[in-house]
Structures are given as C-alpha cells and as structure tokens.
Amino acid sequence: MYKYDDYDQQLVDERIEQFRDQVNRRLSGELSEEEFRPLRLMNGVYLQLHAYMLRVAIPYGTMNSAQMRQFAYIARNYDKGYGHFTTRQNIQFNWPKLVDLPDILTELSKVQMHAIQTSGNCIRNTTTDQYAGASFDELEDPRPWCEIIRQWSTMHPEFTYLPRKFKMAVTGAPNDRAAVAIHDIGLRIRRDEQGELGFEVMVGGGLGRTPMIGKTICEFLPKEDLLSYLEAILRVYNQFGRRDNKYKARIKILVHEIGAEKFAELVEKEWEEIRDSALHLPAEEIEEISAHFTPPPFDVLPALSSSFSEKVGQDEKFAYWVQNNVREHKQQGYAIVNISLKPIGGIPGDISHAQMDVVADLADQFSFGEIRSTHEQNLVLAHVKRDDLYAVWLKLDEYGLATPNSGLITDLIACPGLDYCALANSRSIPLAQRISERFGELDRQHEIGKVQVKISGCINACTHHHVGHIGILGVDKKGQEFYQITLGGRADENAKIGKIVGAGLSTDEVVDAVETLINTYLGLRESKEETFLDAFNRVGETPFKEALYGAR
C-alpha cells in the first residue's frame, strides 16, 4: 500500500488547520454560509436532511486495518456507531457535528486519510477493480496507476474549478469490475501488438440525466505518457466544457456535442504541446510508486487444501458461502473473500463500528492487514489462504457479515435515497430491503442465479441504475414515490445503458414487478446457465414488458 511521505502528511495536516480556522470563522460570523459552503464541500462536508455528512476518500478502495479501525473509532465517538460504504469505494458518516469535523479530520490524518476532493467540481477519488493484485485475469495491478493519478490530481491548481465534477476509473483486467466505461475517463490496461502494456483511454462516459457510455479516443497510450495525456484531456474539458448549464457541464456532453473524433483531435493537439514536459513519467518514478504495491509475501502452498475440502464437506452453510462469496486467486493456495454488506433485509453498504473492528482484525490475522471496498458496496479480503477460509467465515458469520449472496439478486446496490440525501426524490433503502426479503431464501437465489439490481433515489444515479441488469429509479410524482424500471444494462467490458421498460410503478407495485420480471426470466430461459442478462439479450424486452404491463 502507498504510504504518505512527509510532504503528503504536511499537506493534509495544513489543510485540516485551514479548515479548523474556516469552521471557527463560520461559527463566529466572520464567514457567511455562502462563503463557507464551498470550503466545507472541498473538505468532503455536505449538509444532508438530518445532519452534516462527511465523505472520506478511500484511494482506489484500498485501506489497511489501522484505517478501518479508525473508521470504527470515528463511528463510535463522533457519529452514531456506523458508516456507509458508497458506490465510489468511499465511506460516509451520516451524523457528524460541524464543530467536531476538524477533530475528525485530524483523527483521519493520523492514519493517512482525508476527505479532500470528495466533493466539488474537481477530480474525485479514482476507483478500480476490488480484486487488484489478486485476480488471475489481471494484466497488471492498476493501483500504482491510480496512485500516480491521485498524486497528480490532488490539489492540481488548474483543475480545482472544473465545469463539473470529474471521475476516473482504471481496470487492469479484461473482465471489467471497475465499470470504467461509465466514468468521465475510463482507463483499461491492455497490450499492444508488440506485447507492451499501455492504456486504452475512454472519455465521456457517465450516467445521471444523460446516460452515456465512454468513447475510446486512444486505442493504446504508452504508460509514460499517461499524465500528459490526462492533463491534455482535462485542459480541453476545462476550456470547452459548458459552464452555463449545470446539467450540460459534464465532459460527456462536450464529447457528445462535438463528437469523439473532434474531441480526440483537440486532445492530441494539446498533448503535443505538453507530452515531453515534466508530466512525462520516467521509468524510475513508475517503479518507485509500483514498489508500494508489490505482492505480499505469499507462502508456497499446495493447490489443494485437505482441511478446506473437509470443512466444505462437513458444513453446508460454509460450502454455500464459499460457492458464492469466494473467488479464485492468482496465487496457488489463496482465495479472494467477498464480505457481504447486504444482509437479508438490511441496509446496503452500512457497517457498524463493531463489524469494522472485526474486519480489521480478520485482515490482520488472515489477509496481510489489507481490505478493499467495492463499488458494489461490499468489502473484500484479497489474499486469504484457503486453509484459513473456515476460520474467517466463522468470525464473519458471528458478526452478520457472511451473507452468502455475492453477485446474487439480494446483493443489490442502493443509494441512501430520501432517508438521508438532500438531493433524493424518493427512498431507495426500504425498496432494497423489501426486494432482499422477497428473494431472501437462498435456494431461490441460486435458482435465479447472477443478476444485478441497482436502485437510485434520483436521476443523479449514484448507484448506476442505468447499467443494472434491472435498474430502478425512484421519482416523485405529485408527492408520491414512483419507481421506473430499466432492463438490460450492464457495467462490464460490454457496458450498455438499459432500456426503460414502461410507466413508473407505485411503491406497492414495484417489488411484485421485480418478481414478475424474475419469474418471466425463469420461464423463458433455455437453461440454468443462461443468466437473466443473457436471456434478456436473446429475447429482447417484449416478453418482460408484456409480463409487466400486458394486463393493463
């Protein structure tokens, strides 16, 4: 993991002292709310329905056990005993007091964390594959590149006031688990014909009220040119992105309006000017950053673990958890553990302080002290010996963290919605809970197989509902909550925006509607191997639409 140097630490600490002073000046009246608001937002402090909310950046979703324990400490001492993992791999606290926030940021700084650039029209936390450095299908660990981007983009003086917020994602594997195509910039590590590794660069992806899939403007970018090329993109956006209309200010609108080809030309022209500047990345610098992400000291283990096989044979509950939540690891004898933050009927992404401490302990004991957060609002222990899986599972199960539903229908993604969020039009969590309960029985989930349900409480689409296999958008219709369903979206390497299937459904109707969709799929699939998405792609929307609206 990357460790702060003195410069990083000083930068963060100075920023906290500035913020402390700003808070004091707001409280004394020296600063008006109008003056203070952008300052607090730059430090990740929002004002929501019930209280302030602090969003803490988890760089590319990688954290260590000390950082997780500090989240637990903050949840216990400054909040209401829990935190919420978001779809951008960050964590949010829902109840901090403004007067405590400088102290909270000080506590975070002690473990090399901060909330800078988690809000505002700037470059946000870069997200990536939660299995980075562990997955067998990876060409290269994407995290050193995320860290290089982090260092370049943190307080970049030219990009502090962009037309709108800016999000990047990187994948190092052909199986895209980072949803790169729906980011302002998506980077996909790939090989050229000579076998060299570099980046495919996609621009202009994004959801919200104008959902778009990113367009590739560079098929292969040499690694050493990454920062100069990103800077060129950001400069073109900063110059030509619209500032007259908030809803047309994202880069996707610019790329769409002038066309990807023209946009690429502008970037190319800008890039030629700066390609050989200080932004050129020397091999030594890349190596220096990469050294922070060398693989942990794995033991040499046999491919088969007899104690593991024995436990799988003896304990059915454990076997199901292994089947659903454990993934292959590239290192023989190791496995990737998905920790579900989706208990049946629970609140997606929420975790108590006690659970945070347990995850930290497990990471220390069994996974080299490292934890990942996922854009699907779960956690991952990336490097667990197969021999240790049973012990890990026992502890997770004791603390309600072993729901065996990774990738299944109850592993649904939901934003805080109108229960917390000042922007929301409708509630998301209660709907997620009801769907989870409706399909909670494990045999039924196995029968249904892999399917992603994503629920957003407003058109800002924090949960990426447009690219859910089943996407649900909550809207407000004359003071009543209504839900609009999209089908057939996907966020992977074949990313696609789903289709709106018909008129909005009431709160009373929507869970039944999801069940109708699932039953329709079960009735028409050709085999158990054909997933919901495969079946939808084969037959199209008509049978689903008819099942939902036919009788009306």
Binding site: R26, L27, G29, S32, E33, L47, Q48, L49, H50, A51, Y52, K80, W95, P96, K97, L98, V99, I347, L418, D419, Y420, A424, R427, I429, P430, Q433, G479, E481
Partner: protein, 97 residues
C-alpha cells in the same frame, strides 16, 4: 389557505430545526410558528434569515404543513422524514427519543 412553517439545519450540529413562536429555533415541529403562505410567511422568513439567525442555522426555508388539533405535519414526505429521522432506522433521529 396554505399553512407554512420555517425550517433549517442548525449550524453547529446540522440537525433539522423549526422557527418557533418566540423566534427561537426548536428541534420539534410541534413548537413551530404556523403562518399563512404569502406576506405573513415571507415576513417571518425574513426574520428567520437575518444576520443573528445566520449564526444559528443554515438555509432557512418555508414548508407547507397540515395543522390538525395540536399536530403539525409537513405535507411533503421529504419534510416528514426530516421531522422524524431515517425511515429505515427508527432508532435514530428525533423519532428515537
């Protein structure tokens, strides 16, 4: 006639508060000053938004309410949630007390 009350978030802790009949900010909507939409409401909002109150709260605004007996209920669901707390966590917010 539409009845309204003034709500805001308290500056120091961010909690939802309501402008009461003594020109103070209360955590309970039952103590809120209920006014007629229009001139009366606008006048009260001007008071609630003055320099002194800017040191106590953030962003005062008017909301429509139903008043029946002693009970004041916001019309919009969003505001009902603010008077209670998250509907999915009855142990948190004002509803927990």
């Amino acid at each position: 006639m539409t009845k309204q009350v003034i709500t805001a978030n308290r500056l120091d802790d961010g909690l939802a508060v309501f402008f009461d009949t003594h020109a103070n900010w209360s955590a309970s909507i039952t103590e809120a000053a209920v006014v007629e939409k229009g001139e009366e409401a606008d006048t009260l909002l001007a008071t609630a938004s003055n320099a002194d109150n800017q040191l106590i709260v953030v962003g005062p605004y008017l909301i429509d309410v139903d008043q029946q007996g002693g009970k004041i209920t916001p019309v919009r669901y969003r505001e009902q949630i603010r008077t209670l707390g998250p509907s999915v966590r009855p142990d948190l917010g004002y509803q927990a007390k």
